[in-house]
Subunit: 435 residues, 2 copies
C-alpha cells in the first residue's frame, strides 16, 4: 500500500530554496525511509516564472500567487525561503492562520518578529521551526532546545558570521590587512558587495538574539545587543594576539550574570589552543557552557545553499514525523511556552568585567609609558603584560598592554583620557580577552 | 492549577544515576518550564539500601525490588542506569512490556542487543532513547537522527573514547611514553584499573556500532568492526607525526563505500590543523560528513557523571514533552522504522584504501633502504616521504615511510615480507593516515 505523501509548498527559490528543492528531490527515498511517508513539493512560489534556473523543475508546480498555497488544504508545511522581513512575515502569519506548519531560514524575521510569530503559531496550534536561521547547517538550535534541555547555560560563545571569520582567518594566515582580505572574501563570494551587515556584526547580533531567546526563554531585540565590527582590527593586532598565545575572532557572546543576560558581539581574543580558535575560514561554531554538560561545541558550515537547506530539511523531517503520529507542538518554538516569555534583563555594557588588549599608537619619547600606566592605575586598571613594538625615538610606535580583569566603564574612561594626550597619534585599539 | 507531574523511576544510582538525580532535583523549575509539567522521581532501585551516598535522598523512594516499578501504573518513564548487559536487558524489556518508556545510557546494551530492544519498543509502542550511550553529554545521536536527517553520510570520524584521547594528548604534550600516560590517566580517574576495554578500542567499537546503525539504518555487531588499540603507539610515532604535520588520535571511522560500510577503530594520523586534532584530553568529538551539510562536528565531554546525566535528562525531556501531547514513537529509536533494518554489508578490511605511516626498526647498514623500498614497490606501494632518524652505522635506527594511497592487503603482504628480513629488529609500526 502506497503511503499518503506529505505535501509541502516553498515560497522562494533563491540560494536556500534551490538547495531545499535539490535535497527533497535527490533524497526522496532516504527521506521516505526516515519519515515513514514520501514528501512531495506541491507548489513553489517565485517572483517570476520566466527566470532561468540551472536545474530541472516541473513547470506545473511553479506559481507566483501565494494564495494558491494558503487555500490548498492538501499543503501541510510551508517553507518560507524568500528572505527579507515584511513580506516574509505576512507569508508566515498567513500560513499559520491557514493551518500550515512553517519552516523558515530567515534570521532577520525571527530576530525582529519572533515573539509575534511564536504567539501566532501557538494560537494556530502549528509548529514553527527555524533551525537554519543560526549556524546554517549546524543543528545548533535543536541541540540547545532538546539535547541540552537539562542545563542552565552559563555562557554561549558563537562564531556565527562566516564572512568575518573568513576575513580574520585570511588576515592571519596570509598576513593581509583587513581591506585586502575583504576584497578576497568578495571575490570568492563569502562577502556581499556591500558587506556592512556582516562586518559590522549586525548579522551576528541577530543570530545571537535568537540563541539567547532559546537559551534563556526571553525576548531580546537584536538592536539592544552591544555590537562591534571587525573593521578596526589590524594585521598588527592579529600578530600581537599570536605573540601572547591568542587569536582574534568575532564572537557573539551571551552570559548569565546574576539574573541578567550579558549580550555582545565583539572582536575577541581567545586562547590559540581552544576549539573556537581552530574554527577556520567561513566555518561557524557555537560553544555552549551548561551547568551540567560542561563545554559543548557544534561546528560546521554556517551558510551556503546546501548546508542551509540541510537544516531546513531537518525541520521539515521533524514536522513530517509529527504529522505522521498526528501531533503538533510537541516542542514549542523556543522550547518553553510562549506565554512564559519575558523581556530580557540586559546587563549594561558599562558593567562588563573583562581582561583587555590595548594598543596605543604613540610617539616614542621618554615618559610616555609612565604617563599611560599612571592613568591606567588611576582607574584601577592593573596590567598583566606590556609589549612595545619597535624603538625609534621621536617616531610612532605601538605599545601593547594586556590588563587583568577590569570594569568596562573604568577602562573606557581611562582610554578617553589617554586618547587626549598629545603624544597619542590614533584612537587606542581595545579588544576584549576571554581567558 | 497544578499540572500533573510526570513520574519516572531510576534503576541504578551509581556515577550516572547520581548525576541524573542531581539534575532532576536541582533543575526542577527549569525542567517544568521546558516540559510544561513537573518531573517527579518516584522510585530509585538500588542494590543495597544501606550504601552510604554523599547526597540527600528521601528514603521513601529507595527500593531494591524493580517489580515495584513495573507494577506501578503511575510510572511512565524508566531510566536504566545500572550498566552491564544481561540484567539491564531484562529491565529494559520488562519496562517496555509494562508500557513504560525507557531511557538508557548503556552503550554495551544497545550495541549488543539494540535490534531486539528496538523491536520490543516498537511492539510496546513506547520510546527507547539512548543519547548518553555515545559521546556522553554531546547530543550526537540527536543531531544525526534529526538535524542531519536530510543527508546521506559519506563518513563519520569519532574521537569517542576519552581515556585514549587523554593518554595520547598526555604523550604528545608531556613527551611521555604510553605507560607513563596510562598511569597518569589511572591516577586522575580517566582510566580504569583494568584499562583494556578502553585502550584496546572495544569501547569505541561499541559506540561506532551505534553510530553506524543510526546513520545507515543497519545492524552491525561491534565485534565485526576491525579494532586496534593505542598500546603500540610510541612517543616516537607521536613526534614523527608532528614532523609531517599530523597528530595521532584513536579514531572510530565509518564510511559509505559503494553500498558497503567501512567500519574500523584505529590509531590514525590526521592533519594537525584539523578540528579533530584540536580535541584535547578526555574530550570527545564526532565529525559527520553529510552530502549536503558538509563537515559538521560535535564536541564535548564524553563521560563523567554530570555530562552523561545531562544526555539522559535530554532524553527524559523529549519523552516527557511527547507524553504532554499524548504521543509516542514520533521518532523511531534509530530514526528509521525497525522493520526496515538490514544487516550491514561490511567492507572487508583487506579492501581498505589508505595512505600509511610505516616505521621500520632496522640495523643501519648500506642497502637497507634499497631493500625495503624494493619490496614496497613490488607490492605497488608508492612512497610520498621518507625520514630516517639517527645515523649510526651498525646500530638500530628507525626509518619512517609515508605512502600514497594503497590497498591494505598489498600493504600487509609487503610488511610481512619486510618483517622477515634479517636487518629488521622489530615488527613494523603501521598507522593509517586520513589526509
Amino acid at each position: 500500500m502506497k503511503k499518503k505523501s506529505i505535501k509541502i509548498a516553498m515560497v522562494g527559490l533563491g540560494t536556500v530554496g534551490s538547495g531545499v528543492w535539490k535535497i527533497l528531490s535527490q533524497q526522496r527515498q532516504l527521506l521516505e525511509q526516515r519519515i515513514g511517508a514520501p514528501i512531495e513539493i506541491k507548489w513553489v512560489a517565485v517572483r517570476s516564472l520566466r527566470k532561468k534556473r540551472n536545474f530541472a523543475l516541473p513547470k506545473s508546480c511553479l506559481i507566483t500567487q501565494t494564495d494558491l498555497i494558503f487555500n490548498d488544504p492538501e499543503v501541510q508545511i510551508v517553507a518560507e525561503l524568500m528572505g527579507g522581513v515584511s513580506e516574509a512575515k505576512k507569508i508566515v502569519l498567513k500560513a499559520l492562520k491557514k493551518g500550515k506548519h512553517v519552516v523558515t531560514a530567515n534570521k532577520a524575521l525571527i530576530a525582529e518578529c519572533g515573539s509575534e510569530l511564536f504567539h501566532a503559531a501557538r494560537q494556530a496550534k502549528r509548529d514553527l521551526c527555524f533551525e537554519a536561521s543560526v549556524g546554517g547547517g549546524i543543528p545548533v538550535l535543536r541541540a540547545l532546545r532538546e539535547g541540552l534541555a537539562g542545563n542552565h547555560l552559563h555562557s554561549i560563545y558563537g562564531i556565527i558570521n562566516g564572512t568575518c571569520n573568513f576575513i580574520l582567518t585570511e588576515m592571519l594566515h596570509k598576513q593581509m590587512d583587513f581591506h585586502q582580505a575583504l576584497k578576497k572574501a568578495q571575490e570568492l563570494g563569502f562577502a556581499e558587495a556591500d558587506p556592512s551587515f556582516d562586518i559590522q556584526g549586525v548579522d551576528a547580533a541577530q543570530k545571537l538574539a535568537i540563541l539567547i531567546a532559546m537559551a534563556y526563554g526571553v525576548e531580546i531585540p537584536a538592536n539592544k545587543i552591544h555590537t562591534e565590527g571587525i573593521e578596526p582590527i589590524s594585521l598588527l593586532d592579529m600578530q600581537n594576539a599570536q605573540r601572547f598565545g591568542y587569536q582574534i575572532k568575532l564572537l557573539a557572546i551571551a552570559k548569565s550574570v546574576r539574573g541578567q543576560v550579558q549580550a555582545r558581539v565583539q572582536p575577541t581574543m581567545i586562547a590559540q589552543d581552544s576549539m573556537l580558535a581552530a574554527v577556520q575560514g567561513e566555518n561557524n561554531a557555537v560553544l555552549f557552557d551548561g551547568d551540567f554538560v560542561g563545554q559543548t561545541l557544534l561546528y560546521g558550515k554556517g551558510a551556503g545553499s546546501e548546508p542551509t537547506a540541510s537544516a531546513v530539511v531537518g525541520d521539515i523531517v521533524e514536522i513530517a514525523r509529527n504529522i505522521q503520529v498526528g501531533v503538533s507542538e510537541a516542542v514549542a518554538p523556543l522550547g518553553v511556552s510562549v506565554e512564559s516569555l519575558k523581556a530580557a534583563k540586559i546587563q549594561p555594557i558599562d558593567l562588563l568585567k573583562s581582561e583587555y588588549y590595548l594598543r596605543f599608537q604613540v610617539i616614542d619619547r621618554p615618559g610616555v609609558l609612565a604617563k599611560i600606566t599612571q592613568i591606567l592605575s588611576q582607574y584601577k586598571i592593573s596590567i598583566s603584560s606590556v609589549y612595545q613594538h619597535g624603538h625609534q625615538s621621536g617616531e610612532e610606535v605601538s605599545v601593547v598592554v594586556l590588563t587583568h580583569e577590569v570594569l568596562e566603564k573604568n577602562l573606557q574612561q581611562a582610554i578617553n583620557k589617554i586618547n587626549r594626550l598629545s603624544f597619542v597619534r590614533a584612537a587606542t585599539t581595545i579588544i576584549r580577552v576571554e581567558a
